[in-house]
């Protein structure tokens, strides 16, 4: 008994020692920053160069390598268009699904790259991927359908730097307000429902720091005194207003969903009746004959514009080019647009969409005027340098920190 008592007191001493070391460790590092993501070496894109800018591009598509490793959003690699591609080219598609833009950035970097060929990343991830040197230039002349793209998606600033393309644009669309039609006799038209205590315990929103932009967009329209002009470029007071709106929303939240399948489960089982989601969830629930409603509220919506980016160390470049060529053709663009519920980048897709499903071209805005395009605030990476060149904006690392420590 005495030996074990001594051992116990020794272990307690060790514990105290460890705790002491932790306190010292905490005290010593007073020079660093205090944000969760480490000291913010506030970097804008000005002054940055793309490390892979001078990597030579492929001049001619050679024989396929037989494999193609893709990182994609759920719903982007449907057998409807993947199977014919595999048959045509002999390139077998291996899919890895990611749930957030951040996860895509991480996957492209994991193991030093070299595992994946392409990623269907959104505008908020593209710049981070290519400035990190994880994407390589693309010879756009090898992708014939590119010339049929809407001008806004030919050389957009999120995937084309100084005239060099790092991938080919894919599709775009809004994040919609979803609601259970049984619970809403009159369809909601404002994002205010997800901040309304009436629906306490029934709201579900994405577990994603970019959600702060949704709050900022809502405040841009409902609180003009904050003078928000771009939900991704927020000064400290604007940012704090958005974060406190979300912190106030927290008691109403039933679940911050991190997988698209979770949101589908929660609507189906009645855990949630209203929330923010992607058209993928809407079309999946509709296909299951669930009374789901979806709307772009009067305040507008955040959205995404996706690009198939080519990995810097892509192990199967020929298959990757074949995929870019294939996925840009109007018929495949139409198939993906209808199935996922988003807007194609190829303007010729409209006719194919109406052939497949009459009225779908207009339903998914494939022929919409430019004004519709401007009503969607497309995801982009928040950086410290605002558009006016002043370093007053809150960078993305602080968005992540605030989401984890102030909102959730």
């Amino acid at each position: 008994m005495t030996t074990s008592a001594r051992a116990l007191s020794r272990s307690i001493k060790t514990g105290l020692l460890l705790a002491g070391a932790a306190v010292i460790a905490a005290g010593c590092g007073s020079s660093g920053g205090s944000q969760a993501a480490g000291p913010g070496a506030a970097t804008g894109t000005s002054g940055l160069t793309v490390p892979t800018a001078h990597v030579p591009v492929l001049q001619k598509i050679g024989k396929g390598e037989g494999q193609l490793n893709l990182i994609a959003w759920a719903g982007y690699l449907n057998n409807l268009w993947v199977k014919p591609f595999e048959k045509q080219t002999g390139c077998q598609v291996n899919a890895k699904y990611a749930n957030t833009s951040d996860e895509m950035v991480a996957l492209m970097k994991n193991g030093g790259g070299g595992q994946y060929d392409m990623v269907s990343s959104s505008g908020d991830a593209d710049l981070r991927i290519l400035y990190a040197g994880d994407a390589r230039p693309v010879n756009i002349n090898l992708i014939p359908s590119w010339k049929d793209f809407f001008p806004a998606f030919k050389s957009p600033p999120f995937n084309t730097i100084n005239g060099v393309h790092y991938g080919v644009s894919l599709q775009w669309g809004p994040n919609v307000l979803m609601y259970n039609k049984k619970n809403f006799s009159t369809p909601p038209t404002s994002w205010s429902v997800i901040y309304n205590p009436t629906y306490k315990g029934q709201v579900t929103v994405p577990d994603n720091p970019i959600q702060i932009a949704d709050a900022a967009l809502y405040l841009e329209k409902t609180k003009p005194s904050l003078k928000i002009t771009d939900p991704y470029e927020l000064t400290q007071p604007q940012f704090q207003a958005a974060v406190s709106l979300l912190a106030g929303q927290r008691p109403l939240i039933e679940k911050y969903w991190s997988l698209a399948s979770q949101e589908i489960f929660d609507f189906k089982n009645g855990n949630a009746t209203v929330g923010a989601g992607w058209p993928y969830q809407v079309s999946t629930l509709k296909a299951a004959h669930f009374p789901i409603g979806a709307v772009i509220p009067t305040q507008g919506a955040t959205g995404w514009a996706d690009t198939w980016m080519l990995a810097a160390k892509a192990p199967h470049p020929n298959c990757a080019y074949m995929w870019m060529r294939y996925i840009s053709t109007p018929k495949v663009q139409a198939e993906q647009a209808i199935n996922y519920g988003e807007t194609p980048d190829n303007k010729l897709a409209c006719g194919f969409m109406n052939q497949m499903q009459p009225g779908s071209c207009e339903q998914y805005h494939a022929n919409a005027p430019l004004a519709y395009f401007h009503s969607i605030a497309l995801w982009k990476t928040p950086i410290a340098t605002c558009d006016n060149g002043k370093p007053d904006c809150v960078p993305y690392a602080q968005w992540v920190a605030a989401w984890n420590t102030q909102v959730k």
Partner: protein
């Protein structure tokens, strides 16, 4: 009658050649034998396990570029400073330790009578059946078990439906920390029952008889004889339940609600999503430190004889 003469050791050595000489040399030097036997597993342990752990922990003192998330090898303690200065991270650590402790205590309380019945009351046939019942869930996928709990807890799921039928109203447990707690208790219970059973089975019947002969009643015997002798088993089981709860992030992710951020979730979001490996490494140091303290205490209580 021909007599076969056994070869002398010298002849044997010559015939066997190099191999025999090596084996003889090893026979004469036990330390060389031990070195040869232990080198491969030790090298494996040091290189693959310890070295990768050290590499991970070294990253805790680095930073990432917040825009490209590339690692920048600048030494500082800012990751640790962030953890200990932020009330949010402090409360996440406390919540995790509290959950691990609650799960451990609950599992111990549930496991003790169960293990006692198995070890000292049940017939050998019943004991086998009970063992199968405990071990069978371990054959099923972890995810399948968590998802089935999701179906039990969900709005109008089996639980709320049954409670409604018997007129008890609805508890609506889904997406609460109560749900996380129940699932953890269920998942780790076999890891508690098994070592407690092993400890109880080893108590000699004569000691219980002696206790009764000296006039101790059931409660006194349990408190003064059985519990102290079973304690190392309980502590051994608690190592499993405590450490498994401390590191898990999938159960909180699936059945947890808005306050279901645990240490494991912070590590997961920083490594898999935000790609902030240095901060995740710093966070990973905390459960390691907690478990180090815990294991020292467990050793003092004699738990390692039961593992």
């Amino acid at each position: 009658m021909a007599v076969t003469i056994a070869p002398t050791p010298a002849e044997e050595r010559e015939r066997g050649g190099a191999w025999s000489r090596v084996s003889a040399a090893l026979w004469r030097r036990p330390w060389a034998r031990a070195t040869l036997l232990l080198t491969p597993p030790l090298a494996w342990f040091v290189l693959i396990y310890l070295a990768s752990l050290v590499v991970l922990l070294i990253t805790a003192f680095w930073q990432i570029n917040p825009f490209t998330t590339n690692i920048e090898r600048i030494w500082s303690l800012s990751n640790f400073q962030t953890i200990f200065s932020s009330p949010a991270y402090r409360s996440i650590i406390l919540r995790t330790v509290g959950m691990a402790a609650a799960v451990t205590v609950t599992d111990a309380v549930v496991a003790f009578p169960f293990a006692y019945y198995m070890a000292r009351v049940a017939s050998s046939r019943t004991r086998t059946i009970l063992f199968v019942m405990i071990l069978l869930p371990l054959w099923a996928s972890y995810l399948a078990k968590v998802y089935s709990w999701l179906l039990i807890f969900t709005h109008n799921g089996i639980l709320d439906w049954s409670l409604g039928k018997v007129g008890l109203g609805q508890v609506h447990l889904i997406y609460t920390n109560w749900a996380v707690f129940i699932v953890f208790c269920y998942l780790w219970l076999p890891f508690m029952i098994t070592p407690v059973y092993a400890a109880l089975e080893r108590i000699p019947a004569s000691q219980l008889e002696a206790s009764q002969d000296l006039g101790a009643r059931t409660w006194r015997t349990t408190r003064s004889v059985i519990l102290p002798l079973a304690l190392p088993g309980i502590v051994a089981g608690s190592i499993f339940t405590f450490s498994l709860t401390l590191g898990d992030y999938i159960t909180p992710l699936l059945v947890g609600g808005t306050s279901a951020n645990f240490i494991g979730n912070i590590i997961y979001t920083n490594i898999g999503i935000a790609n902030n490996v240095p901060f995740a490494a710093a966070m990973a140091m905390i459960p390691i430190a907690i478990m180090a303290v815990y294991l020292f205490c467990a050793r003092a209580l004699g738990a390692f004889e039961e593992v």
